[in-house]
């Protein structure tokens, strides 16, 4: 059985009257890519800052590598790599100098450090930019530098707090591939994001967090099984009578039917051949329809069903 790398139990963090973390608990095993998914302001960064002892908390316990995490637990800190949401590099230092500085906070031996810095540069694909200052780098390259600074000392636990915010799709894919590569090389990853596609793509286990509470935890399949919805069928249609929607709604596995803006959206819970049965009703009643598509549930559906609101609603905030 894999060792527990991070164990957070009943963590409570208050900002005056606001409860940022409300009895938040997670248990992360060695080798996992653990996703913390939640909208902006849900408490992801607060949880990470508490985990890193950057913030004090009101209640609960945090253990990292089996030891209580405190600001002076340098043994645990030496095994952790941090990639913060905001890019934390020196504008006055070049790419190589920046990586060397952050690597040097952990690795004292010059030769080893030099080797690690070169490896981090290669990992982030920054070979052509080593003498560049951060201000000369594009947003994507800057994010990659931010990651290189966090992983150069080869940490066993890597915490990435929304590392792909404001990054172009190409750089985002490269970053996600890099994270998977780090995981393959043995690092345990904690990945926070409000982009569910990213979390679905790379995380082996996911915790959904809302208003400081851990509302669900499991693999993506386990999370999807937690909800009623198994299939959402959308049919483009000009008009449909209440009689017809009533007939569709009466089908065994259909639990919700909505018609709006020329689209008939039918949600099913389990069962097979739901689409065939629905199209059969439409054909029997000689109702013409356009495009038809069937979607499996996403993490957004999971979030929607559990919290009653869309994950994406908060993105822009």
């Amino acid at each position: 059985m894999a060792k527990t790398v991070v164990k957070i139990e009943n963590l409570v963090k208050r900002y005056k009257d606001l409860i940022a973390l409300d009895h938040f608990s997670i248990d992360i095993k060695e080798g996992e890519v653990f996703g913390l998914l939640g909208p902006n302001g849900s408490g992801k960064t607060t949880a990470i800052n508490c985990l890193l002892s950057l913030l004090t908390f009101d209640k609960g316990t945090i253990e990292v590598f089996g030891e209580k995490m405190t600001p002076d637990n340098y043994k645990a800190k030496s095994k952790i790599g941090v990639i913060m949401q905001n890019v934390a590099v020196f504008d006055e230092l070049t790419v190589r100098e920046n990586i060397d500085y952050f690597c040097g906070l952990y690795i004292k031996d010059k030769a080893t450090r030099k080797q690690y810095v070169e490896e981090a540069i290669a990992f982030a694909g920054l070979e052509d930019f080593v003498k560049f200052y951060p201000k000369k780098l594009s947003g994507g390259l800057l994010r990659r530098l931010n990651i290189a600074c966090g992983i150069a000392h080869k940490p066993e636990l890597i915490i990435l707090d929304e590392p792909t915010v404001a990054v172009d799709p190409q750089s985002r894919n490269r970053i996600l591939e890099g994270i998977q590569e780090l995981n393959r090389s043995g690092a345990t990853i904690i990945y926070t994001s409000h982009y569910m596609e990213e979390v679905e793509q790379i995380c082996t286990r996911i915790a959904i967090i809302d208003k400081g509470k851990n509302v669900a935890i499991g693999t993506k399949d386990e999370l999807k099984k937690m909800i009623r919805n198994t299939e959402t069928i959308t049919i483009e249609i000009l008009s449909v009578s209440q009689e017809i929607t009533g007939k569709i709604n009466a089908l065994e596995h259909v639990y919700e039917t909505n018609f709006a803006d020329g689209k008939l959206v039918i949600k099913c819970s389990g069962g097979k051949h739901n689409l065939v049965k629905i199209l059969g009703i439409l054909s029997e009643n000689e109702i013409a329809f356009g495009r038809v598509y069937s979607e499996l549930p996403t993490l957004n559906d999971v979030f929607l069903e559990i919290t009653g609101k869309e994950l994406r609603d908060k993105e822009g905030q």
């Binding site: 900002y15 800052n49 004090t56 030496s78 913060m84 020196f90 504008d91 500085y101 952050f102 906070l105």
Partner: protein, 387 residues
């Protein structure tokens, strides 16, 4: 020492700003030294005077001779336009007519109507000439009042006037100009401005970079303890401050070498060093409260120039109004300049070690107060962040 090394690297990037201030300051110092005049010399001013003797007596000729000894006699045509032109174009400072009856009036003890003249009203040279003339007439009338004949009195007065008066320039402080020249005094006076400007514009941006929230957070996540980080940053700050001080002191030694190597020169260096401590504390406080890098230059200018004007760095304290000086007393630059003035003997305040040390003590007290405020602000900011 990763934090320290990076501190120095970042400071190096901002060094050009500090160097601009220092180079300009030292250049002005060199210029002042090379154009300096020997202020210990005294030369009597000689005026250009034209004399028309309408009395033509022994007494009037004696007066003309007396005037000629102390001034330069110039010829001006006896025509009103020519006289006016000579006065207007400053060919003559004064056109003097010794009126007819001069000798007779003096014999009778009368002094009104002895002369008529053309002059630029209110001019310094005319006033100076009046003093000479009044002095001469006073002596003559004193002799004639004692029963002496006018001619004899004129001869006696002329003899007295021949005596050379030795003039010695005396400064307020004992041996002030011998040990501590005017140029050093100016150098150290302006140092109050330059230290603040250099420290804020050079050191503050470096501290701001090192204290940036994102950088601090990331560094705090590492194996380097908070105490170690602070020690390394303080070490960098001290090296920067001492470096600036040494540079400016070496420049002073280079410019004023022998004059610096005496008790007053060393006291001036001590005053500068104590003020440097204040400048460093002020810089640290600003780095804690400054909203960002862009505000630093503005803050540096406001504080350095504002304090310099109020405390008598640019304008001598003796020329500042009482209200301004009272405000200045609440700022360390005032005490710095006052101590410096005492050393230079340029303010009328006699140098005394006790008074000097009081000024130094007040400067140190300001530094300690600044340090306490910095700790308080930093603690308040930290606690408000962690709330």
């Amino acid at each position: 020492m990763q934090v320290f090394k990076t501190f120095m690297k970042v400071a190096k990037k901002r060094l050009h700003v500090s160097m601009i201030y220092i180079v300009i300051f030292i250049s002005i110092g060199i210029a002042m030294t090379s154009t300096a005049s020997d202020t210990n010399n005294f030369t009597e001013t000689k005026l250009s005077v034209s004399i028309t003797d309408l009395d033509n007596t022994n007494a009037s000729r004696a007066l003309a001779e007396y005037i000629g000894k102390n001034n330069k006699i110039v010829e001006v045509e006896n025509d009103k336009d020519a006289i006016m032109d000579a006065v207007f174009y400053r060919r003559a400072d004064i056109i003097l007519n010794i009126n007819e009856g001069y000798s007779e009036k003096l014999a009778n003890g009368e002094t009104d109507g002895l002369f008529s003249d053309y002059r630029i009203p209110g001019s310094y040279s005319a006033e100076f000439f009046d003093t000479q003339l009044d002095q001469y007439i006073s002596m003559i009338t004193a002799y004639t009042a004692g029963g002496m004949e006018v001619d004899e009195a004129a001869a006696k007065t002329a003899k007295l006037a021949e005596k050379e008066i030795s003039v010695e320039t005396v400064n307020f402080s004992e041996n002030a100009n011998v040990e501590f020249g005017e140029n050093i005094a100016y150098y150290y006076q302006y140092l109050a401005y330059i230290l603040i400007a250099v420290m804020i514009s050079g050191l503050c941006p470096t501290l701001l970079v090192m204290m940036r929230k994102e950088i601090r957070n990331r560094t705090n996540c590492s194996c380097v303890s908070n105490v170690s980080q602070m020690v390394q940053i303080v070490l960098g700050t001290v090296i920067f401050a001492v470096g600036v001080y040494l540079l400016l002191t070496v420049a002073a030694l280079f410019l004023y070498h022998s004059q610096m190597l005496n008790s007053k020169g060393l006291l001036a260096m001590l005053n500068g060093f104590v003020y440097l401590i204040f400048a460093t504390m002020l810089t640290i406080l600003i780095s804690v409260i400054a909203p960002g890098n862009k505000a630093v230059d503005m803050i540096a200018n406001v504080i350095s120039l504002g304090m310099s004007f109020v405390c008598g760095v640019f304008v001598p304290q003796s020329l500042l109004s009482g209200t301004v000086l009272n405000i200045g007393k609440f700022l360390p630059a005032y005490w710095y300049v006052r101590a410096n003035n005492m050393l230079a003997g340029s303010s009328g305040e006699i140098f005394g070690m006790g008074k000097y040390m009081t000024c130094i003590g007040i400067e140190l007290a300001f530094s300690i107060a600044m340090f306490c405020v910095t700790l308080l602000v930093a603690k308040t900011k930290r606690s408000s962040k962690s709330v």
